[in-house]
């Protein structure tokens, strides 16, 4: 796993795990690998994994069961909410960047549609 050295590692660890939850690789209720195993798999520090998991617990997305380990929340709605949040963050970034180029909302919509249409053709 390659990390961007400019972004705090604990945030990148959260993003890796969130992505796996949203795509269903880690289903609701699934057991997460042990902290040290996650650290080895991602080639990061155990303390940094702890920090990432701690924040995920505070956010209610990961639950800890004493002596059993860490689990993805059983509340599927929490994962859906998480997905919506991540989507909105990405959309916001893209929108702000296009807006900074003085594009109107209509032009932004049009260029996005155009991009998707062209991309579809390339895929065929």
């Amino acid at each position: 796993m390659q990390f961007d050295d400019k972004v705090p590692i604990y945030i990148q660890i959260k993003n890796v795990l969130y992505q796996e939850m949203i795509t269903g690789q880690l289903a609701p209720g699934a057991k997460l690998p042990a902290v040290r195993q996650l650290a080895v798999d991602l080639t990061v520090n155990v303390n940094t994994v702890q920090r990432a998991l701690g924040e995920m617990m505070t956010a209610g997305i990961v639950t800890s069961q004493r002596g059993k380990g860490n689990f993805v929340t059983l509340e599927a709605s929490r994962i859906t909410q998480l997905k919506e949040q991540l989507v909105m963050t990405q959309v916001e970034q893209a929108y702000e960047q296009l807006h900074a180029l003085n594009l109107t909302d209509e032009e932004i919509m049009a260029s996005l549609k155009q991009y998707i249409a062209q991309r579809g053709q390339q895929d065929d």
Binding site: K6, I9, T43, N45, V46, T48, R51
Partner: protein, 236 residues
């Protein structure tokens, strides 16, 4: 939070030349710390002062103990095997460690040997540079201590060996032990560092949490480290 290492006003001179001065440094238990600085900055000297094999002014407390003679029992340092003849087999070196250090854990050593793919029947003279470094890491991590000092464990070795060594550090560092890894090239180990300590101008020039550097300056550890030499970042 307990401190594994507390250095207060440390100084060291060699042939009337100041190598280190006014070094204050406190490290908490359980951290992995990158000790960064150019070649000749005094990183190895600092490690030797911590182990007690060199003597300076000021105080160094390891696990609260300021007696230099006691430090060897708290600190595992990557010694470069210079004391052994080239004909010595790796398993004989391990036997020596077992005898000298009561905290040397034979079972841990065997696990490390397997993980790092070391052939312990080889003689020291037959080891490649990468293999020799793996042997040193296995010997150093097989001891059960509070403080591990790894002096440039990655210099001049291939990337596969480097990755294995990094994984072995993550796997075998005890949770409450602190590890200091010196290097003058940081990018490959940056993701595993809790903190960085920069040695520059004969002293500890900067001591920061790695993720705090990324958060505060929006720059990578390597870039931050380089910026200290260009003087473009405020430090504390």
């Amino acid at each position: 939070m307990t401190n594994v290492l507390a250095i207060d006003q440390l100084g060291y001179k060699h042939n009337f030349k100041t190598i280190l001065h006014d070094v204050d440094l406190t490290l908490e238990a359980g951290k992995i710390v990158g000790l960064l600085g150019e070649n000749g900055a005094g990183k190895t000297t600092l490690m030797r002062l911590i182990t007690g094999s060199a003597k300076g002014t000021g105080t160094i407390a390891v696990c609260g103990d300021t007696q230099a003679a006691h430090h060897r029992s708290h600190v595992s340092f990557t010694e470069q095997l210079r004391g052994f003849t080239a004909n010595t087999r790796v398993d004989r070196v391990a036997d020596f460690y077992r005898t000298v250090y009561p905290d040397f854990d034979g079972a841990r050593f065997e696990e490390l040997v397997t993980f790092l793919q070391i052939d312990t029947s080889l003689k020291l003279a037959a080891l490649s540079k990468g293999m020799k470094e793996k042997v040193i890491i296995a010997l150093t991590l097989a001891r059960q201590v509070n403080l591990y000092l790894l002096d440039e464990p990655f210099s001049g070795i291939d990337s596969m060996s480097r990755k294995r060594i990094i994984s072995s550090i993550i796997k075998w560092k005890p949770d409450d032990a602190t590890m200091v890894i010196s290097d003058h090239y940081v990018s490959e180990i940056a993701p595993i560092l809790d903190e960085i300590v920069v040695v520059k101008d004969q002293t500890v020039y900067a001591h920061k949490e790695s993720d705090a550097v990324r958060e505060e300056f929006g720059m990578g550890i390597e870039a931050y480290y380089e910026s200290l030499y260009e003087g473009s970042v405020q430090h504390d």
